[in-house]
């Protein structure tokens, strides 16, 4: 699990926070590829469809904190739809992914956004990712259209490419920065006790 | 009114030999049997016209059409075109065999009920059923009516149906199957190691032999016996059964069909079946190939000689030269594919003579094998003794403690069915017992 350093000041106080992040979107838009790129720096042309949901972790370093993402990469197939709440319940962040060469996937993404707005935590940080940006010649969803939609719904928005790695780290970083990393409450230990049950604390996640 | 000259005359079942335990009538296990000509039923609404023959008649026409339609639809599997292209179908209740004949123009189908087979202790083994119920009647039908099959025309359809009706309605009730299906499947012919009803000599092709032989012994001759039993009849007189022209077509060396006239001559218990070939050149239609003069000559020639031969054969039985194996405490089947010679302890006349009397020679003292074991013989033979290999050996034991032994040496096949015995507990025991049996009973036959 390599931590991604982005200019942490050496020697500075470093708090570690962990956040649950879920990826949603239609089957074959590239959710697993995005995660694979983010976590392992790899890309496979013929990525198999996800079985159930895959759970991975990845840590990023911000200026004043280390953020550990607990990522749920969900399968996009129809039969799993009703399981989605299981994954986004209690999630602090969500990336809704669509494929810029597939109009239907964009519609589906909008549905996911609606669902999250209705059912997920009200403070959830949401991002919209228009994946497969490397296939611009087959584009059917215009950047502006998606951008406008994202603004209307207060979503982070980037077009990404797991293949070229364009904007992959960036979108996670953007989410990390938006996540509430407040001053510690109570204890000042800089580590997370893994054996403690997860607790949702308002605003801050750090212990 | 059928005259003596018409072969169908002999299919009247006036004399039926009692069925021995080893065989049963196919009618006892049959659901239905049919012959269809698909081309006759292509037009929508006219599908029922494909049916050339259907047994039993009581089945509604709708159902008949459905059943035959199903058989026709099975052809969706494209296979290499071979004369007896076939399909077998197994459902929960029945086993079916469908074969295409005459260059795919006709389909023969038969369905056997699993329940009836169970009650009759008949182990349904489809390859054997296929042979008995499809191959044989077709060949037989073709032997006598090939002109009809081969030159089938629209306007002959009614006549064709009539002939089918006559043929099958008499043939089917007489058709028997062996409880040991392997006997039917191998399709051999019992040679003169036992008597009566056995073959002494033949010179026709092997393709035709089993069918003709079967026809003679199961159909033609039994009906002929009845008059012989009448005490007033002169014992030594020979008789002819002869038929009209355009009858038999036999295979020659190149497996082409040639036309012959068949003459059957019988004296005492000996029967000679002669085939007179039609000349290649067309003769004047007025002249019959087999003339009365010819018959008189044959009669004069054969009468004395044949009756002498018959007497001598009769004398041989029970004499020292009697090569028949004694009653055994095991069952066996021996088959030589080269000569088609087949002999078994389930011999068709081992418990009945053609005249209805019971002969006890050649009968095994062993109890009849259980149905499971009968079927096991077929399964092991077809599964593990390769047809192409000249050698093979197989031992199988059932939980009933019966053993099945199959030995193939120089392509000749010996099957033993050994009833439970305290002398054969282990495989080694059985191996040695087999060797003893082969030495004592089958040496001469097996290894020559």
């Amino acid at each position: 699990m390599a931590a991604r350093n982005t200019g942490a000041r050496p020697g500075g106080p470093n708090k570690t926070c962990q956040f649950k992040l879920v990826l949603l979107g239609e089957s074959a838009v590239g959710k697993s590829s995005l995660v694979l790129r983010f976590v392992k720096g790899q890309f496979h042309e013929y990525q198999e469809s996800t079985i159930g949901a895959a759970f991975l972790t990845q840590t990023v370093c911000l200026d004043d904190a280390t953020v550990k993402f607990e990522i749920w990469d969900t399968a996009g197939q129809e039969r799993y739809h009703s399981l989605a709440p299981m994954y986004y319940r209690g999630a602090q962040a969500a990336i809704v992914v669509y494929d810029i060469t597939n109009q239907e996937s964009f519609q589906k993404a909008k549905n996911w956004v609606k669902e999250l707005q209705r059912q997920a935590s009200p403070n959830i940080v949401m991002a919209l990712a228009g994946n497969k940006a490397d296939m611009a010649n087959k584009r059917v969803v215009e950047y502006e259209e998606a951008q406008a939609y994202a603004e209307e719904n207060a979503l982070l928005f980037m077009e990404t490419s797991a293949k070229t790695s364009m904007n992959v780290n960036d979108i996670f970083m953007a989410i990390a920065k938006k996540l509430p990393i407040g001053p510690p409450q109570g204890e000042t230990t800089g580590t997370v006790d893994m054996n403690q049950p997860q607790q949702q604390q308002k605003g801050s996640c750090c212990k | 009114m059928l005259s003596v000259a018409n072969p169908l005359y002999f299919f009247t079942s006036s004399v039926e030999a009692p069925t021995p335990l080893s065989r049963l009538r196919i009618a006892d296990v049959m659901d239905f049997f049919f012959v269809v000509h698909p081309d006759s039923g292509r037009k929508e609404g006219d599908e029922h016209k494909r049916i050339m023959y259907f047994n039993p008649k009581v089945e509604a026409l709708d159902k008949q059409t459905e059943i035959t339609g199903f058989a026709e639809a099975l052809q969706f599997l494209r296979e290499i075109e071979e004369e007896f292209d076939f399909r077998t179908v197994s459902t929960q209740k029945s086993d079916h065999v469908y074969i295409q004949v005459e260059k795919q123009k006709f389909i023969l189908g038969i369905s056997l009920s699993k329940q009836m087979a169970f009650h009759s202790n008949y182990p349904l083994y489809l390859p054997a059923v296929k042979k008995t119920s499809s191959v044989i009647p077709t060949r037989l039908f073709r032997l006598f009516f090939s002109a009809i099959f081969g030159s089938f025309r629209e306007n002959d359809e009614e006549k064709f149906k009539e002939r089918l009706e006559l043929f099958f309605s008499r043939f089917l009730p007489l058709l028997k199957v062996q409880r040991l299906p392997i006997l039917d499947q191998l399709g051999g012919v019992e040679f003169f190691y036992h008597f009566p009803g056995k073959l002494l000599y033949y010179s026709i092709s092997k393709q035709d032999l089993p069918v003709l032989f079967r026809y003679l012994t199961q159909n033609l001759l039994p009906t002929a016996i009845a008059p012989e039993l009448e005490p007033t009849r002169a014992a030594n007189k020979g008789r002819f059964f002869y038929r009209n022209p355009d009858d038999v077509e036999l295979d020659d060396e190149e497996e082409l069909l040639e036309r012959y006239q068949m003459i059957v001559y019988r004296c005492l218990n000996a029967t000679v079946c002669m085939f007179v070939r039609f000349p290649d050149v067309e003769t004047s239609s007025k002249e019959q190939i087999v003339s009365r003069r010819m018959l008189r000559n044959i009669d004069a020639y054969l009468e004395t000689d044949l009756s002498n031969l018959a007497s001598r054969i009769g004398d041989e039985i029970g004499g020292e030269n009697d090569l028949r194996p004694e009653a055994t405490d095991f069952h066996y089947v021996y088959f030589n594919p080269a000569s088609l010679s087949m002999t078994s302890s389930f011999s068709s006349t081992s418990s009945e003579g053609l005249d209805g009397t019971t002969a006890s020679v050649g009968v095994a003292k062993a109890p009849p094998p259980p149905v499971d074991v009968n079927r096991l013989v077929c399964e092991t033979l077809s599964g593990f003794v390769s047809e192409s290999e000249e050698f093979g050996e197989c031992f199988a034991k059932s939980e009933t403690d019966w053993w099945v032994v199959i030995k193939k040496v120089n392509s000749r096949l010996l099957v033993l069915l050994l009833p439970p015995s305290s002398y054969q507990q282990s495989l080694a025991d059985v191996q040695s017992r087999t060797q003893v049996i082969v030495k004592s009973h089958f040496k001469a036959i097996f290894f020559n």
Partner: protein
């Protein structure tokens, strides 16, 4: 001769009633677009004729659902014919089972609302293969969902929508059945391990699961190479071997072999309960070290992921110390270089024995011998395997068969069936019965004395 059957006597009884209500997964309400127009293609049929087998799944109403190695869209006329045959026979109050021709056998299975069909050049146990295929589909949807979807969405519903992404699992289920002898026997195959190591592993797994007190967590399995290294269970619950093979098929999917990921997925185990779902926690904890062993933890509660994730961590880090080091070293070797039963260990005269398959009927486990000359190359093994398969099919068909000994110029086969076990051996040609049985006797003794290595004799419960 009374022989104690190697491989355990812990009987797996199907009568064990396992009363557990399982959660259901709701089907989606919204409809996506319908499938595109289908065409049939005659050349595809011709291509099919060349393949050793083809498996078809369609709905009762004739809609294609699955065909392996082929596009079901192009074969819709073939699917229709299959459907017609089955329904025509059904109308007659009967049930179509097989159609055979000269060199092909077609087997049918009707399990409402599906029709399954396989066309194969080899006729062995096709009925069982179709049952396995059906169960594989049920494992994705559950029987309840499978039946209700047509009620809710109509006869014309395209079930492929619900099966998307599972094609490769169905394919591997079918192909592993044809390639793995243990599947054919509806049994499980065990990874050979030192008895002490297996005990350590099982104790660790059951201990951690027990301590977690997750009410609803029922099974823990360690799988490698489609073999079971260890298997623990909650109280008296047992897993049917066919369900186990479904789990093995799932976890053997390459996409799950990722060091950094754990998978959480619903799975229905038809023999346990076909109305609802388990949830499987799947991890390859040592993948990064090149050890392809998979830990599977099964629970009926969908919110147990975190709990089970903790269990895994505890399993990995329990008893740190020399004991664990030794175990781990041995375990790595056992997984990376599996040590199947070597015939030579039987002793003298065993050269004539080329291969064997031993099955214990009570514990439903098989032991298969390691490859040995002259059965090394794929071709060589294929030939002997098909002989064994034929023999096995005969044993299935003729339940009264107890002994079979076949000798020909190629090899000799010995099949021995008792109430407790069955043994299928391939010997060299011209082996006498006496020699064969002597070797078999030695083999059984050897299996018995090493049974802890090659079988799971005791499955601890927590």
């Amino acid at each position: 001769m009374e022989i104690e059957a190697p491989g355990g006597s812990e009987s797996f009884t199907e009568d064990d009633i396992q009363n557990l209500s399982l959660q259901q997964i709701d089907l989606p309400e919204q409809d996506a677009e319908t499938a595109s127009i289908m065409e049939s293609d005659e050349t595809v049929l011709d291509r099919l004729a060349c393949l050793p087998y083809q498996a078809f799944v369609l709905s009762e109403y004739g809609r294609p659902i699955f065909v392996n190695s082929g596009n079901e869209e192009q074969l819709c006329s073939l699917f229709a014919v299959i459907g017609i045959f089955v329904s025509r026979v059904k109308l007659w109050g009967d049930e179509l089972m097989t159609i055979t021709s000269k060199d092909r056998q077609i087997q049918f299975l009707h399990r409402t609302p599906l029709i399954l069909c396989i066309v194969s050049k080899y006729g062995e146990k096709l009925d069982e293969q179709l049952e396995v295929l059906f169960e594989q589909i049920v494992s994705t949807l559950s029987r309840a969902q499978l039946e209700s979807v047509y009620r809710k969405k109509g006869d014309n519903y395209d079930l492929r929508r619900l099966l998307r992404g599972t094609d490769r699992l169905i394919e591997s289920s079918v192909s592993s059945w044809r390639g793995t002898l243990s599947s054919i026997h509806s049994a499980i195959s065990v990874l050979p391990m030192n008895p002490g190591d297996r005990e350590f592993l099982s104790a660790t797994m059951s201990g951690c699961l027990g301590a977690a007190k997750l009410d609803g967590a029922l099974f823990g399995v360690m799988v490698a190479h489609r073999q079971i290294a260890s298997y623990v269970r909650f109280k008296n619950y047992v897993m049917h071997p066919r369900d186990m093979n479904i789990v093995i098929n799932l976890v053997s999917d390459k996409s799950l072999q990722v060091a950094e990921a754990q998978t959480w997925t619903p799975i229905c185990l038809p023999h346990f309960n076909d109305t609802g779902f388990f949830y499987a926690y799947i991890a390859y904890p040592w993948e990064a070290k090149g050890i392809p062993a998979c830990l599977v933890l099964l629970s009926v509660k969908r919110d147990h992921f975190d709990g089970l994730n903790e269990v895994k961590k505890r399993i990995l880090f329990k008893k740190i110390g020399s004991e664990r080091e030794i175990f781990f070293g041995n375990f790595s070797t056992a997984v990376v270089k599996p040590n199947l039963f070597a015939i030579s260990q039987i002793g003298s005269n065993s050269e004539s024995l080329w291969s064997f398959v031993y099955r214990n009927h009570l514990s439903k486990q098989v032991c298969i011998s390691a490859s040995k000359i002259p059965l090394i190359s794929r071709e060589e093994r294929w030939d002997s395997r098909s002989d064994l398969r034929k023999a096995d099919a005969l044993v299935s068909k003729e339940g009264h068969l107890r002994t079979l000994f076949v000798r020909n110029t190629k090899n000799s086969l010995l099949i021995w069936v008792t109430d407790k076990f069955s043994l299928q051996c391939v010997f060299g040609p011209f082996v006498s019965a006496i020699v064969a049985f002597t070797v078999v006797d030695k083999l059984l003794k050897s299996l018995k004395s090493h049974e802890q290595r090659y079988f799971i004799i005791h499955t601890p419960s927590f």
